[in-house]
Each structure stands twice: as C-alpha cells, then as structure tokens.
C-alpha cells in the first residue's frame, strides 16, 4: 500500500477548442519520489497538473491520484494532497501568517503554521501582507500553502520560475526536505538543471506528448555516450567539416555557438585546434561538459527548451 504509485495517467487528452494541450499522456509516479515534468512553455504541464488535482475535466484517458479519480472524487483527492498552482492569487491584504493559517484550516491534518513558514524561509516576512511580497517570496508562500497539509503527495507547478539562482537553490532544499519526510513531489519545470539535480524521475514533454521518460542520468546515457564540446563560433557554418573531426558523432551550430558531441574528447580537441589555426576559424570560450537533459531535448525536438 505504502509503495504503490502515487499517480498514474494513461492516454490523457485535453483540448481547448482546436488547441490540443495534452495529447495522449502516460505517466507513472512512484511514491516517495520527486517526479519532474519537464517541458517548454505550452507543453501542457499546467493543464496536466490541473486535471490531476480536479480543477479541470479531461477529454479522454484514465487518471488515478492516490488511488482515486480526481474527476469524481475531487474534494477527497484535494484533502489528501498539497497544491501550488502556477496561476494563482491570494487575498492581497492578508499577511503571510494569516494566509497560511487560513489554508491550514481547510485540512484535517495540517502542519504547524510557524513551522511551515520557517521551512520556506519566510519567518521574517510572516507579518508582511501578500501584496508587498517580492516575486520570489510570493513563490515560496505558494510552496508553503502546498506544504501546510500533512499530505503524502505535493504538486508544485513551476515553483522556481522567475526566481534568482540563489532562491531557486533554496527552494530545491525545501523540496528535498519534503521528500526526506517520505512524501511524493510532482513538480513541473522548464529548467533542465532543476530536473537533473532535483528529480528522481523525469518525463520530458513537448506539445502534450511524452518524448522521454526515466531518471535524468539514464535519459542522458541512453541518448548520449558522448560528451559535449561547446565554443563560440561566429564564422564557420560548415557542419560537415565539424562532423568529420575524429570522435565527433554530431555537431550543432547555432548563430554564434557550436556544440560537438564526441566519444573522444582529446582527439576531437586536438583536431579542433588544428582546424582553428589552419582554416582561420576563430574559436573561443571552449567548454567541455557531459551531455545534459538540454542536449536530450535538443536531440529529440531539434529545439532548445527555452527559446
């Protein structure tokens, strides 16, 4: 019972008029994990979350959240989960503490208000009205409201969007804290590094479909044995020339940068340097790195995740 799937979705579909927001989605979220739904804007992440928490109806497919169907048992589902919506609003003239206290009153098993405020690092702002919070503070208040119910499953829709790097890292710690208490986290993001570092499992979505599913490291090694060499390049548009270099499997050229995926970093680097001196190609800011989820997304869709 404890280790059953927290969320299962199969064949989920949702259209708005002619827009297909979710196009036959299958998901499985194991209990006790941080699960990440990763995809660009408009991929259908918010729509999926709102269907899972019973805020929207679905057109087709099967959905189970903690063993229940949110379309039929929405209130019961919502009483056993915590939710942070991406598009949300709060009474502007209430203080942080008043809002969290109000939300705590909605649940039978609520955590102590001050403790939750402390966990998201808003203790100093407890008496500040919502209106006066910065974007990052409002975002953390949203997470606090999702955490106030002592629930087994927490939905966070793009919890770190718009935060500065430091605030994002702070929120990652909060999310890891939720997992360490044995809870399941379902989060959406369009940050690759976030998915890679934070999530146990990731579903990469695009245009309402899953294009890859698995743990971040599995996903990367499944798609890339190679490492990536990146450099700025504003001269050569000749992809074939780069792909002929030793060890290189694929080359990507963008406006002023190039990425070479290689099985043999030293061999490729040596050849690249020769090319640079001989052909008069200007190469700068060279970085060697492992492939990332960004590379996976690029490979699968031909686009970067954030345009």
């Amino acid at each position: 019972m404890r280790r059953m799937d927290a969320v299962t979705v199969s064949g989920l579909r949702k259209t708005y008029g002619k827009t297909v927001a979710v196009d036959g989605l299958d998901l499985r979220v194991k209990a006790g994990q941080v699960f990440g739904m990763l995809g660009p804007n408009g991929a259908g992440k918010t729509t999926t979350v709102e269907i899972l928490v019973g805020l929207r109806t679905r057109d087709a497919g099967e959905v189970s959240v903690l063993g229940m169907d949110p379309a039929r048992e929405g209130r019961e589902v919502r009483s056993r989960i915590g939710v942070q919506l991406q598009a949300r609003g709060l009474y502007p003239r209430l203080t942080v503490k008043e809002i969290v206290t109000l939300f705590a009153s909605f649940y039978d098993r609520a955590l102590p208000v001050d403790e939750v405020i402390e966990q998201v690092g808003l203790t100093a702002k407890a008496r500040t009205v919502v209106r006066a919070l910065s974007g990052g503070q409002a975002q953390r208040l949203g997470v606090a409201l999702a955490m106030i119910n002592d629930a087994d499953l927490v939905f966070l829709d793009e919890p770190t969007t718009g935060l500065d790097p430091q605030a994002r890292r702070g929120l990652w710690d909060v999310i890891r804290g939720i997992r360490s208490r044995g809870k399941t986290v379902f989060l959406t993001t369009h940050y690759m590094d976030e998915a890679e570092r934070l999530c146990d499992n990731v579903a990469v979505v695009d245009h309402g479909k899953i294009i890859a599913f698995g743990s971040p490291s599995d996903l990367i090694s499944e798609h890339f044995e190679e490492q990536a060499i990146e450099f700025s390049n504003s001269v050569s548009r000749d992809r074939e020339k780069f792909e002929k270099l030793p060890g290189v499997t694929r080359a990507r050229l963008s406006e002023n940068a190039a990425t070479l995926y290689t099985r043999d970093v030293p061999a490729t680097m040596t050849a690249l340097m020769q090319l640079a001196t001989g052909d008069d190609i200007h190469i700068d800011d060279v970085v060697v790195r492992r492939a990332t989820l960004e590379d996976v997304f690029l490979k699968l869709t031909g686009r970067r995740i954030r345009e």
Partner: protein, 360 residues
C-alpha cells in the same frame, strides 16, 4: 466551523484593510446624511410675521394681538401704522392687520367693525393662506362675542406620525441606498477574487465553494448591520430622528434588503470578467435606482411614463419599507407588497446568479 470563521475573518480583514472600500461603506453614507440632513433641516415648519398696528385707545387692538398670537404659525409684531407698512414693503412682514377705530355708525350698532388687512401682492401665500386664516380667526371671535352656538366643530387628528420632516424621510432612504450599494458593489469583490485567481487558489483545496460563498454573504450582512447602526445613530444624535417602529421589524427589513441586493449583486457579478467591467455594470443599475426610487425626490413629481420603471425597482420598495418602519411615513406600497417584491427580486437574482455563475 473553524474553516468558516477563518474565512469570515480573512474576508473581513481583506475588506477592512482596503481604505477605498471602507470609505464607500462607512464614510459615504454618513456624508450623504449630513449633507442632505443639513440642507433640509433648516426648512422646518414655516412661520409668518404678522404686524399689528397698535393704536392705544382702540379696545380691539389688544384682542387682536391676543387672537393672532394664539395661531402657532404667526409671529406677532406690533408697532405704529407707518412702521408696520414700511416693514411689509421690505418683505419683513407677510401681513399687516389694523383694527380701525370704531366709527359712529358702528357705535350705533349698524355697520360691522372694520379690520383692515394689508398684504404683499408678490407673496402668493399671503393671499392664499393667510387671508383665510385671518378670516377664520375673526369669525371665531365674532361667534364668541355674539354667543352664537357652534354648528360645526372641526376635529383635526393626525393619522400618521407626529410630523414627518424631510430628514426623517431622507434617513430611511439613505439607509436603503447604502444597503443597495453594499450589496451591489460588494458582490464585485467576487469578480475581483475571480479575476485575481484567488477563487482558483481556493479551488485547489478541499474547501467547499458553498462555504466560501456563505462566508462572503455573512460578512456583507455584518457590514449591513454596522451601516444600519451607524446611520440610525447619526440620525438620532444629529437630527433627532427617532425610530418609531420596532427594532425587530427594522432588523428584519435590513436583512431582507441586504439579502436582496447581495443576491442581485451576485447576479450582476456572474457576467463581467474584470472588476472594472463589473463596476461599470453596477453603476448602470444603481444610478437610475438611486434617483428614481423616491429617495431624494418624491415619486409623485416624476413623469408618469417613469412610473413603471419606478415600480419595478427593488430600491423603491426597500426605501418605502424602511420609511414605514423607521419613521412611520405614509405608505407608497403596502408592507406586504414591499416584502413580496423584495423577496421576489432576491429569489430571481439568486436563480440567475446560480445559473450563470463562473468560478474562473
């Protein structure tokens, strides 16, 4: 229950910290009462200055002074003929009366005693109202002197309240208006909660939406009671308006009125997407009601083609009901009609609101 009170508290705080809405809710009706109250309270019962030419040696002059002074609306001045006529010309007197010295013929018992009355022709009230009063006064005096028995005895008895002043009339109307604005504009808060996605946030919790709605309505009713208290208090303290009807009836009428307009407000709130559009819509509804339902102008002076409009407006009935209860004003409609029409509006609005309501 804990959830419910938390919601009520949250609403009350959110509204209470909004300076603008506090102004409309508390200061605005009070300013209205003070403004209109002072404008109309000067206009109490009119008095007329009556000058009596007092020439000593005329036995009738004393009797005249006594008789005229007994009429409450007359303020008696005495003086010589020249002076009083001068005052009449300057508009300081409405009427100047002079008992002419009895002539020889009179002494002989032939001609009647002559009482000369001067009035200012440019003042129509003098001729239309004061002359008949004087005449009445004299014939009464004559009857007493001759000892003729009275054939008719006019017994005047007010059927309505003591005397209804303009302020009494206005106070109840302004209370009705305040309740209307509270209900209509108050419901626009729901549009703003929807527009700001606050309803959506609450929708992601197990909170029952009906509970949310009830808590909003309860806060509105609470505000209605505060408003009523304030308006009645100011009416009493500043303008000495006493509540003639029972407090229970007043409470009932206020609750019914508040419910009706809250209900109407939610009906109007069902349609607009933004609070701004909603306020525009409410203005379109509340302005005609404010001016056409007999709060500031009596319904009688309105052209007859507007009567059907007046008769359709719930505010006409709430104002009428409150006037009857608070200051025992003469009824425009019967109390039963008032209650039925208000109840009907409340129900109809509720049905429309429930049918077209959107949470997001």
């Amino acid at each position: 229950m804990r959830t419910f009170w938390q919601l009520v508290l949250a609403n009350a705080r959110d509204i209470g910290r909004d300076k603008m809405s506090l102004f409309w809710f508390l200061a605005f009706p009070v300013l209205f009462i003070l403004l209109f109250g002072f404008i109309f309270s000067n206009e109490g019962t009119p008095t007329y200055d009556v000058g009596i030419v007092y020439n000593s040696g005329n036995p009738l002059a004393d009797g005249l002074v006594k008789g005229v002074s007994a009429v409450p609306v007359f303020k008696v001045h005495t003086g010589d003929r020249e002076g009083e006529l001068q005052a009449l010309k300057k508009g300081k007197r409405s009427l100047v009366v002079e008992a002419l010295s009895p002539s020889f013929a009179t002494m002989a018992g032939g001609d009647p005693l002559k009482v000369q009355v001067y009035y200012n022709e440019t003042q129509p009230t003098a001729r239309q109202v004061l002359l008949p009063v004087m005449e009445q006064l004299l014939s009464e005096a004559e009857r007493r002197m001759t000892g003729r028995p009275k054939v008719f005895d006019l017994v005047a008895e007010p059927v309505q309240s003591s005397d209804l002043r303009m302020v009494d009339f206005l106070l109840a109307g302004i209370l009705a208006m305040a309740l209307m604005q509270l209900g209509l504009f108050g419901a626009m808060r729901a549009v703003s909660l929807r527009e700001q996605k606050i309803l959506k946030s609450l929708g992601a919790t197990p909170l029952r939406r009906s509970l949310l709605l009830v808590s909003e309505v309860v806060v509105r009713i609470g505000m209605a009671l505060i408003q009523t208290f304030l308006i009645v208090l100011i009416g009493y303290a500043v303008f000495h308006v006493k509540i003639l009807g029972s407090w229970l009836a007043l409470l009932g009428a206020v609750l019914l009125g508040a419910l009706t307009f809250v209900s109407m407000g939610y009906m109007l709130a069902a349609f607009p997407r933004t609070e701004e559009a909603g306020i525009g819509l409410v203005q379109m509804v509340q302005f005609p009601m404010m001016f056409l339902s007999g709060i500031f102008f009596p319904v009688e002076i309105m052209p007859s083609f507007l009567r059907p409009v007046v008769n359709a407006m719930p505010l006409s009935y709430l104002a009428d009901l409150l006037r009857q209860i608070m200051v025992a004003a003469p009824p425009e409609y019967s109390i039963a009609t008032d209650i039925a029409v208000l109840g009907g509006w409340a129900m109809a609005s509720f049905v429309v609101a429930a049918r077209f309501w959107r949470w997001e």
